[in-house]
C-alpha cells in the first residue's frame, strides 16, 4: 500500500492544475471584456473544481479505497456533480470573450473541428460516459483502482472528462456549432439515466469483484438515489432550455396573429 504518512503527500500536486484553472477563470470573470459576468457562474466553477479535487485528496481518497459507499459517493462528485457545475459556469463562453483575438480564434477553430463535433455529439458523449462506468464496475478496473493511486487518478480524470462532455452535449450553453436537437438529446438522456439505474441495481444484486455484499448494497443505493437527484436536475435544465426556445416573441406573435 501507499505511504500516506510522508511529509509531502503526492496528491498535493493536484492543487496546481486546480489553482491554475481557478485563477484563469477568476481573472477572466473580472476582466472588463467578460461583460458583467454573473457571480453565480464563478461560484459554479469554483465549486466544480473543489468537488473533483476532494475526490483525489485525503481523507476522501483513502476512505473511498476502504468503503465502497464512499467510492460511490466520490464518483457522483467527480463524474456528475463537478461536470454539471463546470458546464453551468460556461468556461468556453468566458474564454472566447476574454482571450486575445488570436488565441480566441484558435479556440473557436478547435471547437468547430470535426473531432470536437464528433466528441460532443450526444450519442458519442453518452457512450464514453456510460461505457467508462460499466468498465469500471464490471471489469478488474475497480480492483486496480483500489490497489494503485495512479489508476484511481486516471479513472477520476476520465469520469470528469466524459461527464463534462456528456453534460455539455445535453444541457450545455457554451457555443457549440451543430448542437443536437431536443428530441435526440431527450432520448439520449433518458437512455443514459436508464443505464445508470440498471447498473446500480446490478451492483446491488451482484457485487463487483472484491466488494462485500452489504457494502455493494449501500453503494448501489447511493449511486441510484444520489445519481437520481442530479439526473432530475439535467432533465429540468433540458426542458427549461426547450421552454425558453419556444417562448412567444411579442412582435412576431402579434404580426402573425393580429387580434
Amino acid at each position: 500500500m501507499h505511504n500516506h504518512g510522508s511529509a509531502f503527500p503526492v496528491e498535493s500536486l493536484f492543487f496546481i492544475p486546480a489553482v491554475v484553472a481557478l485563477v484563469a477563470y477568476w481573472a477572466g470573470a473580472r476582466s472588463p471584456r467578460s461583460g458583467r459576468w454573473p457571480w453565480y457562474r464563478t461560484a459554479f466553477f469554483t465549486l466544480g473544481v473543489a468537488a473533483v479535487l476532494v475526490t483525489v485528496l485525503n481523507p476522501l481518497a483513502e476512505l473511498a479505497h476502504r468503503d465502497f459507499a464512499v467510492l460511490s459517493f466520490s464518483h457522483l462528485l467527480a463524474g456528475m456533480l463537478s461536470p454539471l457545475l463546470l458546464v453551468l459556469s460556461r468556461p468556453f463562453t468566458l474564454a472566447l470573450r476574454t482571450l486575445d483575438v488570436f488565441p480566441a480564434r484558435r479556440l473557436s477553430r478547435v471547437l468547430r473541428s470535426r473531432f470536437a463535433r464528433f466528441l460532443s455529439f450526444p450519442v458519442t458523449a453518452a457512450l464514453l460516459n456510460t461505457g467508462g462506468m460499466i468498465l469500471m464496475f464490471r471489469t478488474g478496473l475497480l480492483q486496480a483502482m483500489q490497489e494503485s493511486m495512479p489508476v484511481h487518478w486516471l479513472v477520476t480524470f476520465h469520469l470528469l472528462a466524459a461527464g463534462y462532455l456528456f453534460t455539455a452535449s445535453i444541457v450545455g450553453r457554451d457555443p457549440s456549432p451543430h448542437r443536437a436537437g431536443y428530441r435526440l438529446r431527450a432520448i439520449v438522456l433518458v437512455l443514459s439515466i436508464a443505464a445508470h439505474n440498471i447498473l446500480a441495481k446490478g451492483i446491488y444484486a451482484d457485487p463487483p469483484p472484491g466488494i462485500p455484499a452489504a457494502a455493494a448494497e449501500t453503494g448501489a443505493l447511493v449511486m441510484y438515489y444520489g445519481g437520481g437527484i442530479l439526473e432530475l436536475v439535467l432533465i429540468v435544465l433540458l426542458c427549461r432550455q426547450w421552454y425558453a426556445s419556444v417562448r412567444p416573441r411579442g412582435k412576431v406573435a402579434s404580426a402573425i396573429h393580429p387580434q
Binding site: 439515466i193 440498471i198 444484486a205 429540468v236 406573435a253 396573429h257
Partner: protein, 162 residues
Amino acid sequence: MSSPLRERRSPRRRNLVSGLLFGIGLAAFVDEVIFHQLLQWHHFYDRSTTSVGLFSDGLFHAFGWFAVVAGLFLFADLRRWHETLLKRWTGGVLLGAGVFQLYDGTVQHKLMGLHQIRYEVDLLVYDTVWNVIAVLLIVAGAFLTYRTRTAVPRESTAPADA
C-alpha cells in the same frame, strides 16, 4: 432561424401529449414514493428479476422522471400561449397513468416477474385492485379524450387548427 411559431402543432394534440406525459410520470412517481419508499411493499430489488425485467424497470423509471418534468413544461407552454384545454389535458393524464399502471401490473409484475405488489400475502386481491384501477383510469381517460376530440381553446394566440 426558423420561427418556432410556424412549427406549432394543434393545441388539441399538444394538450393530449402534455397530459399523457404527466400522467405516466405521475404513476411512476406514485409507484416509487408510496409503494417503494413509504409503504416499502415493493423492493428496491428482490434478486429474482430477469435481465429483461431489470432493463424494462430501469428504462421506465428513467422515462417516468423525464415524463413528469417534460409534461409540466409542456403544460406551462400551453398556458403561456392560452391554449389549454383542461378537459383534454385531464383525459391525457388519466390515460397515461392508467396505461403505465396496467403495463406495470401485468407485464412488469406478472410476465417479467420484476417484483410483486406485496410479499407474503395473497396477491390475487392486490393484483385485481391494481389492474382494475388501471383499467378504470384508461376508460375515464379515453372517454374525456373522445369527448374533446373537436375542442378549441377559448382565446388562442396561436394559429388556429388546420
